[in-house]
């Protein structure tokens, strides 16, 4: 799960080296925290949050496959 978001986020930003992802796993739900360079924040969120929403949708599809839930948090 973590790798999926890492790949997408790194491909979207200008500073891929500053992408930090932490996964906090729970029994049912895991929280994925995404941290990017300040200038890149808009790139992972997108106009009207469209990119963030698309990432969350893909993430939930991927999680559904292993019968889990994942939440994506973009950390400022």
């Amino acid at each position: 799960m973590k790798d999926l978001i890492a790949y997408i986020a790194k491909a979207l930003v200008d500073k891929p080296d500053e992408v930090v992802i932490t996964e906090i796993e729970g029994a049912q739900t895991s929280v994925i925290e995404l941290k990017v360079a300040k200038e890149d924040l808009g790139k992972v969120i997108g106009k009207q949050g469209r990119t963030a929403r698309a990432m969350r949708t893909v993430l939930s599809a991927a999680s559904a496959k292993i019968n889990k839930r994942s939440v994506l948090e973009i950390i400022e």
């Binding site: 790798d3 999926l4 790949y7 997408i8 491909a11 979207l12 997108g46 009207q48 469209r50 990119t51 929403r53 698309a54 990432m55 949708t57 893909v58 599809a61 991927a62 559904a64 496959k65």
Partner: protein, 242 residues
């Protein structure tokens, strides 16, 4: 060093104008973009011309790096494949490979073991069909996941190429099936609108779906279609003209 101003529909075109009029190569001038220009709506309303400022460099110095931040790799790819004037199919060939790579990588990370991607290019649009997702997981409710995948792949491809190429992601022929459903719904609603002489409203649709509805009813003289709402998702009004 002399400075000139040039205009064009796009910055690309403006630069081309500059090259031909000054009779110099692109590498021999410094280009400053004053206004990037915009195509406007359907290229009709509100279009602005791109303006650039060009300074010629007399003695040819070591090639000046342009301000644009295309990674060198892609410049090399582009220049190797085609002449500078016209974007030939070679660019698209690379674009297809890049787009396919990105989608494959995402599928691999989901992970979708049995899914394979068939990519093709038509009229400047790259269509990638995912084969092997029997569960419909990649399509999602009302194509939500498929749209999200498509959006992300578009974003990444356009970022990598610094060029807007439309990428369509399809799975199990969903896009075609969806279109049939929408056209049928549009026709049904237009009949009802005519019968009741009342406007009919669809539910919230994405731009592509709305376009399908507008196109399905464009030849019907008794029906007018209009989009209503804010944001990406809007409703379509199907109005009887009589």
């Amino acid at each position: 060093m002399e400075t000139f101003n040039f205009e064009g529909k796009t910055t690309e075109e403006a630069i081309k104008n500059a090259c031909s009029q000054l009779n110099v190569n692109r590498e021999e001038m410094e280009i400053e973009i004053i206004e990037p220009g915009s195509p406007g709506i359907f290229g009709l309303v509100g279009g602005r011309k791109a303006k650039i400022k060009v300074s010629t460099i007399k003695e040819k110095p070591a090639p000046v790096k342009e301000e644009r931040s295309i990674s060198d790799e892609y410049i090399a790819l582009k220049e190797k494949g085609t002449s500078k004037e016209e974007p030939g199919p070679a660019i698209d060939e690379n674009a297809i490979i890049i787009a396919e790579d990105i989608l494959n990588k995402i599928l691999e990370l989901i992970p979708m073991e049995n899914a394979t991607v068939n990519a093709e290019q038509q009229n400047g649009v790259i269509t990638m069909n995912i084969v092997g997702d029997k569960s419909g997981l990649l399509i999602g409710k009302k194509g939500k996941t498929l749209d999200a995948l498509q959006f992300i792949v578009n974003r990444i491809v356009n970022k990598k190429l610094e060029k807007n190429i439309q990428v369509v992601v399809d799975s199990e022929n969903y896009r075609k099936r969806r279109e049939e459903v929408l056209v049928e719904m549009a026709l049904r609603m237009s009949e009802k609108a005519k019968r009741l002489k009342k406007p009919m409203v669809t539910n919230l649709l994405n731009p592509h779906d709305r376009r399908t509805i507008h196109l399905a009813l464009k030849d019907d003289d008794e029906i007018d279609t209009r989009s209503r709402g804010d944001g990406i998702f809007k409703k379509v009004l199907i109005i009887s003209r009589k």
